[in-house]
């Protein structure tokens, strides 16, 4: 498989605090690449820099060999990199359909021919489980559907790489399983996915490779099995109460 995204020396400071330090990783085509780590580890910061919503302090981000660090998000989207938000940010005063339409008309690498926009949007709504919600106001959606709308709006931009920021946060197990199967189907259809998650079980079950962040730095990288056995990761888990809880969850039968 070919390398799609390569990040080198990526660093971001906020005032005097370093949120991400000298981060380095590569993402291959058609994989689900998980990024995990405790709160404040710099996951979302790294995402925002790749998606162009945040300027890096230093470092390089290459997409298909092209340097894109520091590009604004509307330009990055047109290359085929699109993000979702941890806390969904729908255009609340607009309908669900219109939300998706914005992504399709403005983020698409190609805008579908005139007559096909409506069909394409319907297709995306159906794929994300939002069919029937098109005419509803996005502001009136319950949490689960807001997360789906984040996904639908990003998919409308026809992405090559999808950056999913805790897309299962706050969802019940059924909803989580639903979304995870969507992600796998997207991967199988050729989309590369970068996936931040808190829910360890979800990550272990879904990701092809995982990177662990701690204090803005890479702690480990590998397949789910390698991560589970990694000394450094285990130590980090055991060293932290909140992480121990999550590690125990891993032992439960699925």
């Amino acid at each position: 498989m070919t390398e799609l995204l390569s990040v080198k020396g990526l660093t971001r400071h906020f005032g005097g605090i370093a949120a991400v330090v000298n981060l380095q990783f590569r993402v291959k085509e058609r994989e689900i690449f998980g990024i995990i780590g405790p709160n404040g580890a710099g996951k979302t910061t790294a995402f925002s820099m790749i998606a162009g919503s945040l300027l890096p302090t230093a470092g390089s981000i290459r997409f298909r060999g092209r340097e894109i660090a520091g590009w604004p998000s509307q330009r990055v989207v047109h290359l085929g990199i699109c993000r979702t938000h941890q806390v969904p940010r729908p255009f609340t005063g607009m309908t669900v359909y219109e939300n998706v339409e914005v992504g399709m008309r403005f983020g698409g690498r190609r805008t579908p021919p005139r007559g096909e926009v409506a069909d394409e949007i319907e297709r995306i709504l159906e794929f994300t489980g939002l069919s029937g919600w098109g005419a509803s106001s996005a502001g009136s959606l319950p949490t689960g559907n807001r997360k789906r709308l984040e996904l639908a709006r990003a998919l409308a931009t026809d992405p090559v790489v999808l950056l999913c920021d805790e897309i299962c946060g706050g969802l019940n197990p059924t909803e989580t399983a639903d979304i995870l199967s969507l992600l796998r189907r997207l991967r199988d259809s050729g989309i590369t996915i970068l996936y931040i998650e808190h829910d360890m079980r979800a990550v272990m079950r879904t990701c092809d490779r995982i990177m662990v962040l701690n204090y803005g730095q890479k702690l480990a990288e590998g397949t789910p099995e390698e991560i589970q056995d990694d000394e450094g990761v285990i130590e980090a888990y055991l060293g932290r109460r909140s992480w121990m809880g999550r590690a125990e969850q891993l032992e439960e039968p699925p």
């Binding site: 604004p72 998000s73 255009f91 914005v102 403005f106 709006r153």
Partner: protein, 318 residues
């Protein structure tokens, strides 16, 4: 067309109403209405134009500007000075729109780096700075203003049609924008500028574009106004109170809709006409109070209030 299309019957009714209204307004100068009433209608059309224009930026895109008098004044002065220079009004007035649009780029390029409320505050500074500069330039006649030469003036009916034409143009442009992908992106910027950029909308560029469009319409209205009144001075057309009026009408009428700005402008013109003789300041007191009430109880403005009442009446009826 965007979104779940409104039912076809409703839009057909809307077309019919618009066409009838246009016909009625076209007939007005022929049916023996008093000159005073025609003047009132003419003023209303100019305010309808500025309201619809302001609404494109403030209502649809969510960027509140306290600086539209700059465009009104640029349009008025460009048209006035061109007419004095011997240019036909048919070219001078559109030129006013063009200059205003150009001015909007100069203002927008730096100020659209600022977010919503900070943009709004910056426009207060821009408006006042421009007014002071204009009051001191020779070309604007300084504080004493410019009188337009009388030769080649329109009849009142011609002025009336010019204003009606501009208002219709503003209505048409607004309708087109609000039903286009451009309008969709503008609304996305209003809702969440960053999220819009994350799915490919270019907020800065689109804001500049809609600002220029709104400025152009406002400038054309200013040009028609200059030609009609034949006398303009910087403390009038460039004043902060002109900006305030241009802002108040669409906000009170109802932001982000087509009917709101029209209603707001009509109500404003009538109220001002009635009040200005006896209580020169009272209409602004009233409008300030109305603005407070609307922000507290009915953000949809008079149009929103009307919809709510209509729904209740329909629901309560047999």
């Amino acid at each position: 067309m965007s979104a779940a299309p409104a039912s076809r019957a409703t839009s057909r009714t809307a077309y019919a109403v618009a066409a009838l209204a246009l016909l009625a307004f076209l007939a007005v100068p022929w049916v023996g209405i008093s000159n005073n009433a025609i003047r009132l209608l003419l003023t209303t059309f100019l305010w309808v134009t500025t309201s619809l224009a302001w609404n494109l930026l403030g209502g649809v895109t969510g960027q509140v500007s306290f600086g539209f008098a700059v465009f009104y004044g640029l349009g008025a002065y460009t048209a006035g000075l061109s007419i004095n220079g011997g240019i036909t009004p048919y070219a001078a007035i559109p030129a006013g729109g063009a200059v205003a649009a150009f001015g909007s780029l100069l203002i927008g390029l730096p100020t659209f780096r600022l977010r919503g409320p900070y943009f709004a505050i910056a426009t207060i500074g821009v408006n006042e700075a421009v007014r002071i500069v204009m009051s001191n330039l020779d070309i604007t006649g300084g504080a004493s203003g410019v009188r337009l030469l009388q030769a080649g003036r329109f009849s009142q009916a011609e002025h009336y049609y010019a204003a009606l034409g501009v208002a219709s143009l503003a209505f048409l442009v607004s309708w087109r924008v609000m039903h286009s992908p451009f309008g969709l992106a503008l609304r996305a910027i209003r809702e969440d500028q960053d999220a819009a950029a994350d799915v490919g909308v270019h907020p800065f560029r689109l804001k500049l574009a809609v600002h220029a469009l709104a400025a152009c319409l406002t400038g054309v209205a200013g040009g028609v106004f200059a030609h009609y009144t034949a006398y303009i001075h910087p403390d009038g057309v460039f004043s902060f109170s002109t900006s305030t009026s241009i802002l108040l009408m669409p906000v009170i009428g109802g932001l982000g809709t087509l009917s709101g700005p029209v209603i707001g402008a009509a109500v404003y013109s009538i109220v001002q006409e009635e009040m200005v003789v006896h209580f020169p300041q009272f209409h602004l007191l009233l409008y300030g109070a109305l603005l407070i009430l609307i922000m507290l109880f009915e953000p949809g403005g008079l149009a929103g209030l009307w919809r709510r009442l209509a729904r209740r009446l329909r629901g309560g009826g047999p």
